[in-house]
């Protein structure tokens, strides 16, 4: 295996292949950064270009696009509160507040470094342990997906520390929105109100643009007439690179945990980068010594989200390369590209086509390094975008939101949905009813529903739904994690009380001593 990996690395570093990889990474970043264009779309559009190339060069380019897009989506998430792809939703929670504080470059560099780290860890796992991990991925059945979805929903308690009731209410509204369209099981047409275009459901990216991007423009640029998009002017410098990189490498646990979560979520077929980034963000917030910093602009939040969603990409290739089961929509496009080049997933990929397969894996690895370089130095240019006066920037952003919403399915109804969600997002922000849990419910609703309904059907046949859903090893672990996640805020509050009391007592006694001395 090591020989093949080394040969693969040499293949990638050949000038023509390296150039193809660089172009792929660059195009991936562009696709990820433009709201409405996703990694899947980028891969699908560029697969035909790889036909004329050799299988090695073609797959190297696709690897570059995939890895580049997983970073690119963080750029608009940080700068304009609009995730380029749904996988960057958790990046907005801290990335945009960072940009507002004039620290957009910090966010962008943290995203680039964390993306590369996540990708690197997941690639090492992919290269070293793909076959045994693929077997575990097959153990993910409907109950596990149900509990994974529920675990993801517990992040609401983190997202809405102000009012958990309102947070869960918003999550329920999101899950109702996720039910719009044709039911996966049963085939019923639900809540389409006579619009046939809604049978495919509400497009996630349309909801993201509506709930996150438009309210910000309506509120700050149009409503308050702020002359610049950020509250403080960004001044990029080389010192920021050093500061952020040092700061992140002083947090190996955060980085490794986020990469591990991304890899595990990635190799569970169907669970995407959005779930990976949400779960990772939640865990980062829970285990941090200063959870109060999250949501107000910290590079830890950006790193947790980005390391996980970038680790998800190679993670999703584990079941693809070994079993032919794509772990994510972009992986499904790569499966198509493999088949077109006459390669069938399975054992023969690691024997007959080992040279090409390992070149592909090594390309993912090298692309991660390219992302660090392009992302870190690109941050000097990207971060200045929000210094552009909002008079010039806002019309371009609104124009892109309309274009991006339309481009997903080529219909005007999506644009209208984006507009309506934008107004709802603006009103709900004003009412302190934050829309992030609505989007979370929209993302996780289909997972929870499919897991629930399939478990009910299989459970009936197996003798009992409850037994079938609960008494399984992976389910047990996930249930435990759900309980921990829900009860954590109570535990954290109890833990904080004695500390607070200690501080109060200490300051009171110091005050008393001070008063005594002054006498």
């Amino acid at each position: 295996m090591f020989d093949f990996a080394l040969t693969g690395l040499f293949q990638v570093l050949m000038p023509n292949h390296f150039l193809v990889l660089f172009i792929g990474v660059f195009m991936g970043i562009v696709f990820g950064a433009l709201p409405g264009l996703t990694a899947t779309m980028g891969l699908a559009l560029l697969v035909p270009f790889t036909f004329t190339m050799s299988p090695t060069a073609g797959l190297i380019m696709l690897a570059g696009i995939y890895v580049g897009a997983m970073y690119g989506d963080a750029i608009p998430a940080i700068l304009i509160n609009t995730p380029g792809t749904p996988a960057a939703i958790a990046t907005t929670f801290d990335g945009f507040p960072l940009a507002q504080k004039g620290m957009a470059q910090h966010g962008l560099v943290a995203a680039a470094v964390a993306s590369s780290f996540g990708s690197l860890v997941a690639n090492i796992v992919l290269a070293a342990a793909a076959p045994p991990l693929a077997e575990i991925s097959l153990k993910f059945g409907p109950p596990e997906y149900f509990w994974l979805g529920i675990f993801g929903l517990t992040i609401i308690s983190t997202l809405s520390s102000g009012s958990p009731i309102k947070g869960f209410l918003a999550g329920s509204i999101g899950m109702i929105l996720s039910a719009v369209g044709m039911a996966e099981l049963g085939g019923d047409i639900r809540l389409t109100f006579g619009f046939p275009e809604l049978q495919g459901g509400i497009e996630l990216i349309v909801a993201l643009i509506g709930f996150f991007c438009l309210p910000e423009i309506l509120s700050s640029v149009i409503g308050q007439r702020r002359t610049a998009y950020a509250e403080k002017i960004v001044k990029p410098s080389l010192g920021v690179l050093r500061e952020v990189i040092t700061s992140l490498f002083k947090r190996p646990v955060l980085m490794l945990r986020s990469a591990a979560i991304g890899t595990v979520v990635g190799f569970a077929p169907g669970a995407g980068g959005n779930i990976a980034s949400m779960v990772s963000y939640n865990e980062a917030c829970r285990w941090d010594k200063h959870p109060e910093e999250f949501g107000k602009g910290t590079i830890k939040g950006v790193a947790a989200s980005e390391a996980a969603n970038s680790a998800m990409a190679p993670g999703s290739l584990i079941p693809l390369l070994t079993l032919g089961i794509p772990g994510s929509p972009p992986a499904a496009v790569i499966l198509g590209a493999l088949m077109l080049h006459g390669m069938r997933p399975g054992a023969e990929l690691f024997t007959d086509y080992a040279d090409i397969t390992y070149s592909f894996i090594m390309a993912l690895l090298v692309a991660a390094f390219l992302v660090t370089i392009i992302g870190s130095f690109g941050s000097f240019v990207f971060s200045r975008i929000i210094n552009i006066p909002s008079r010039y920037l806002a019309p371009a952003i609104v124009f892109m939101t309309v274009l991006g919403s339309y481009a997903i399915r080529n219909n005007m109804l999506d644009v209208w949905i984006m507009f309506i969600f934008g107004i709802i997002g603006y009103v709900s922000n004003k009412l302190k009813f934050h829309p992030a849990p609505i989007v979370l419910g929209l993302i996780l609703g289909p997972f929870v529903e499919e897991g629930l309904v399939q478990s009910m059907l299989a459970g009936k046949a197996a003798g009992g739904t409850f037994t079938y859903m609960v008494y399984r090893p992976i389910s047990g672990v996930l249930i435990l994690l759900c309980l921990m996640s829900l009860l954590w805020p109570i535990f954290a509050a109890l833990r904080a009380k004695p500390k607070k009391a200690g501080v109060v007592n200490k300051s009171a006694s110091e005050g008393k001593e001070g008063r005594d001395e002054s006498r």
Partner: protein, 159 residues
């Protein structure tokens, strides 16, 4: 009553009550729209509806007992700005399928750019808006329509 208390800036809304009642309305709408579903198609919706209704009732009750009051607009100027901004976007979306992508986008971009400028109708501002409109809209049109081959809205008026 003082004059100040009559301005939008002084009015405070009961956020919990509004959120609770709107959520109850949504729950009722979903309930009456999903009674014909099969068991498989309706089970998830029914479970969520129970949770949604319970949480909406709690929020409504909180609105009566211990409401969270918020100020919606800071000033009349902010309210007017937002309403005009929404109207410009609304008109763009209405005219997009009628006039087609390019004419509607040129008009929207020009108007929106000019609306956000401090001194609107100076020659300099108008020229800047014209230049930016032509550059940005045309660039995006070429990228999406010609390079990525994404079909863009065609107008009924100019077909």
């Amino acid at each position: 009553m003082s004059q100040d208390s009559e301005t939008p800036s002084a009015r405070r809304l009961n956020a919990d009550l509004i959120v609770g009642i709107v959520s109850l309305g949504l729950a009722a709408l979903v309930y009456f729209s999903t009674r014909e579903l099969s068991k498989l198609g309706g089970v998830f919706v029914d479970y969520i509806l129970v949770g949604l209704t319970a949480l909406a009732l709690i929020t409504t009750a909180k609105g009566f007992i211990k409401p969270e009051r918020v100020r919606f607009f800071e000033s009349v100027i902010e309210r007017n700005n937002v309403l005009v901004g929404i109207c410009i976007l609304l008109l763009y979306l209405i005219f997009l399928p009628l006039a087609g992508f390019l004419p509607a986008s040129y008009a929207f971009y020009f108007c929106f750019n000019l609306y956000l400028a401090d001194e609107r109708f100076t020659t300099r501002n108008i020229l800047i808006s014209v230049f930016l409109t032509a550059a940005v809209v045309t660039a995006f049109y070429f990228i999406f329509h010609h390079f990525l081959e994404v079909p863009l809205p065609e107008g009924k008026w100019f077909e």
